[in-house]
């Protein structure tokens, strides 16, 4: 027995007392002809001869006179317990098991109601007695039962004895019963609504769609099919109304027995959860472009209407008790909370996709924000988003530009979601970390900034936004930030080490730039700009000027100084060329140069280091350049020009016996073909000698001419001019090495790094001369010790140093044996 109304000792004490006094006790009752009326009458199944209240009152007075009134309540509980155990409970459960064995739902629902009605009939007399006794207690006739009132004791007794062990199927049955009533309720409500709206203005489209969807969810089309959507039976046998009646009766019985929550809570909860989940899955999964909150609020109000039927018996007409009201309120909160949690969880699961679709998925973000404010799911959001990012984004299969694009939408979306930016900061840290490991990140960001990147123009438009936050003095002072009244504390998961104002000022560009720091970015931009300027020889720099101006607003004048000089060089070159052209025009016809030579003149200190390649140009070109230099020297006193022969763009016409080709080629290509004028057959070796270009890159350059059908390679290593095109040969396809890494005019990052490390080479040589052999780690630590590092020279890291030394080994300037580096023995 789970709960006994009395302790064992107390009980036996009572028994003894009863015995001792039994004589007078019974006499008293016999005299009054009311032997234990309270009990016996209550026990009687047929409450035909209910004693009058006055009689009972008198009986109590007698008991009181004999000092027995203190035992009355305990005795009442004893009797109730006995009766429950021996009679009421088995009877009830056999009724329940009966309906468990019934297959038909309507039948079992009826049987269930019967079982509960029987229970009610059995218990009703007890409850009446209870009310009486409560009255007496108030009058002071009875002593009361201490801290716990009698009613509470009776209720717990009921619960304890009746539901001490429930058969397996009971919960399922209750759930079925409530589920059915829920469906009927919702369906009736809906059909009532659609009827009214039809009456008013015809069914709105929305509504139609809604009901259709809903019906689909229930699996039964009500209008067309022969089944009722509420009860799922044939129309003619629809028992909706009966079911509703059963439902109301059962609820009121349970309410009166105070068993309502005990019996129905599980069922109601699981029905609501299931319904909410199903509906959510059906309605909003994968659908981010509209907000579902208000729609769900409406729906939930309907659900709450059903709940009020359960807990308030709102249709019964009586005003509900305050306790029932409290319960109902609790349930209402529960349903809303559950919905918010569920919705937030779903959106959190989908957050990655939501971010991906961001500007379109804004309603979903706003919904999620609303829910997050009510539930505490930030941690869930963070960990889920982090892992989604890691599995879906941060792996080698995703291109850097896609990662950057997603990061940008993440910034936008999460800024919307959490204005304090903490989520953004925490969740996107992995992206930033990962981007740092990608080599082309800076290049992609710069490309994005200048509007070069295919696909996303986000960054470019962000850059041209008015009133940008400059990066140098981005954080304004704390006090002028905003009204102190509006101050909101940082969320708990914020990193306390960082200023909130700094976090809040985050705009997209500064966030992206801060992955690397603006210095890297500017350098990369400079390289990109140099490349662009050296490849387009049209001097049209409007777009670049605009970009540089925009970037100046962001990064400050000082940073963009180099780029400005580069652009100015372009303008100056144009002027100088025009000047020189004018000079030439004044010359007599025969002294004019054979071709038009123009130049881009660079201020070498301000351009990124250009790739140094050797190329010996043909005499006539060199002469023309010489002449140009002379004119330049005349124009700018004490200055001269240093030509970069390998850079340049040449427009030329190749006249062959049967055809003429007009082409724009690089200076190397031009130099090659010019040599074929004087001699029709060249070997690669000879050409390499004349042009001073190593054979491998030279061969790559040759392919252009072979592909154009101007030269043919036969036998390998020997090139001959094809004066007359032979039809059968023309179809020969030559694969071009598209790996034109020579395309970039600026030295690659790796080359620049090597250049930097070259500074250390003298030190390393000296070390090895003195100490003969050293391991990589020793060299590294000694360099750290002895070499001053300044702004120009940064400390090399171990890996870079290793790469550098390996290269020296390949170039045979070092030997590497047994884990140590040595200088090669001279003379061997």
């Amino acid at each position: 027995m789970a709960v006994r109304p009395l302790g064992g000792g107390e009980c036996s004490h009572l028994m003894w007392k009863c015995h001792a006094l039994s004589g007078s006790f019974f006499k008293a009752f016999c005299v009054k002809n009311l032997p234990l009326v309270v009990v016996s009458q209550a026990l009687a199944p047929e409450p035909a001869d209910v004693p009058l209240e006055e009689d009972l009152h008198a009986a109590v007075e007698v008991l009181r006179a004999h000092g027995l009134h203190s035992a009355l309540e305990e005795w009442f509980l004893e009797v109730l317990q006995m009766d429950l155990q021996t009679r009421i409970s088995p009877e009830f459960w056999s009724g329940v098991s009966q309906c468990e064995n019934t297959a038909e739902e309507a039948q079992s629902s009826l049987l269930m109601l019967d079982a509960f009605s029987l229970l009610w009939r059995r218990l009703e007399p007890y409850l009446r007695s209870l009310a009486l006794m409560e009255g007496w207690t108030q009058e002071g006739l009875l002593l009361g039962t201490g801290a716990q009132p009698l009613r509470a004791k009776v209720h717990s007794l009921l619960r304890a004895v009746l539901f001490f062990s429930t058969p397996h199927g009971f919960g399922e049955m209750v759930r079925q019963f409530y589920g059915r009533s829920f469906k009927i309720y919702m369906w009736r409500k809906r059909s009532r609504e659609s009827r009214t709206s039809e009456g008013e203005s015809g069914m709105s489209e929305d509504h139609q769609a809604e009901s259709e969807e809903e019906e689909e969810g229930l699996g039964v089309p009500p209008r067309t099919g022969s089944q009722c959507a509420g009860c799922g039976c044939q129309r003619e046998r629809c028992w909706c109304l009966t079911a509703v009646e059963h439902f109301q009766q059962l609820n009121s019985i349970l309410q009166r027995l105070n068993l309502l929550e005990l019996v129905s809570a599980d069922a109601v909860t699981s029905i609501l959860h299931q319904m909410i989940e199903e509906r959510m899955e059906r309605r909003c999964q994968g659908e981010y472009e509209r907000s579902f909150l208000s729609e769900f609020h409406e729906w939930i109000e309907k659900v709450i209407g059903w709940l009020s039927q359960v807990f308030l018996q709102s249709d019964s007409g009586t005003s509900p008790s305050p306790e029932a009201n409290r319960t109902f309120k609790r349930w209402r909160c529960h349903v809303q909370m559950f919905f918010y949690r569920q919705y937030a969880s779903m959106r959190i699961e989908e957050l990655f996709s939501i971010i991906r679709d961001f500007p379109e998925s804004k309603p979903a973000v706003e919904d999620l924000k609303y829910c997050l404010e009510r539930t505490s799911q930030r941690q869930q959001l963070l960990s889920s988003l982090k892992s989604a990012l890691e599995t879906r984004l941060l792996h080698p299969g995703v291109s850097t530009s896609d990662i950057i694009t997603l990061y940008i939408s993440a910034i936008k979306a999460l800024r919307e979601l959490d204005p304090s930016m903490v989520i953004l900061e925490v969740a996107c840290e992995p992206i930033r970390k990962y981007l740092r490991t990608r080599e082309d990140t800076v290049r992609q960001i710069v490309a994005g900034l200048t509007g070069e990147a295919e696909g996303s123009s986000d960054l470019a438009s962000e850059l041209s936004k008015a009133d940008p936050v400059t990066l140098e003095n981005g954080q304004e002072s704390e006090d002028d930030a905003s009204d102190p009244e509006d101050w909101v504390p940082d969320p708990v998961d914020a990193d306390p080490g960082k200023l909130s104002s700094k976090r809040r000022s985050s705009d997209i560009i500064s966030l992206l730039v801060s992955i690397y720091g603006s210095k890297d970015l500017i350098n990369e931009y400079r390289n990109l700009l140099a490349d662009r300027l050296l490849h387009q020889f049209s001097y049209s720099t409007e777009r670049e000027i605009r970009n540089v101006e925009l970037m100046k607003l962001r990064f400050g004048e000082a940073q963009m100084h180099y780029c400005e000089v580069m652009l100015k060089d372009m303008a100056d070159s144009r002027r100088i060329n025009a000047n020189i052209r004018d000079e030439e025009q004044k010359l007599p016809e025969e002294e004019r140069p054979l071709f038009d030579l123009t130049a881009t003149i660079l201020s070498s200190e301000f351009w990124p280091p250009l790739k140094e390649e050797k190329l010996e140009l043909p005499e006539e070109i060199k002469e023309a350049m010489e002449a140009y230099s002379k004119k330049y020297e005349k124009l700018k006193a004490m200055r001269t020009l240093n030509w970069k022969p390998h850079l340049g763009l040449v427009n030329l016409e190749v006249e062959l016996a049967d055809r003429t080709l007009a082409l724009s080629v690089s200076s190397v290509h031009a130099a090659i073909i010019l040599h074929f004028q004087s001699k029709e057959v060249w070997t690669l070796e000879e050409l390499s000698e004349v042009l001073k270009v190593p054979e491998t890159p030279l061969r790559r350059k040759m392919t252009l001419w072979v592909q154009q059908g101007v030269l043919r390679e036969e036998p390998p290593g020997t090139f001959t001019v094809i004066e007359e095109q032979q039809k059968d040969r023309a179809e020969k396809v030559v694969l071009i090495d598209s790996d034109e890494e020579g395309d970039s005019a600026t030295a690659s990052q790796a080359d620049q790094k090597e250049e930097e490390l070259q500074v250390f080479w003298a030190y390393i040589q000296a070390m090895l001369t003195n100490l003969e052999s050293l391991s990589l780690e020793r060299i590294h630590s000694m360099l750290k010790l002895f070499v001053m590092t300044g702004p120009m020279v940064t400390e090399p890291d171990l890996q870079e140093l290793q790469g550098f030394l390996q290269k020296k080994v390949r170039d045979q300037q070092l030997t590497y044996t047994g884990g140590v580096y040595r200088l090669p023995k001279s003379g061997t």
Binding site: L594, A657, F676
Partner: protein, 84 residues
Amino acid sequence: MKVKIKSWHGVASWLWVANDENCGICRMAFNGCCPDCKVPGDDCPLVWGQCSHCFHMHCILKWLNSQQVQQHCPMCRQEWKFKE
């Protein structure tokens, strides 16, 4: 075969014809500009003294202005005279 060049667009960098790389006053490259200037070349020219030393014009002018008594070349201490 005949190749006719219609136009040749080359790339060159300009440099000062000086016997040193850096300005002896500001230690910046001649091909760059003095610390006060932003743009090299025409806007920040070099000047030569009769002693054959050369400096950024702005640098040597500043130096000369700071000299109270006599104006010397900061490198060789000879009297500074601009080369004609």
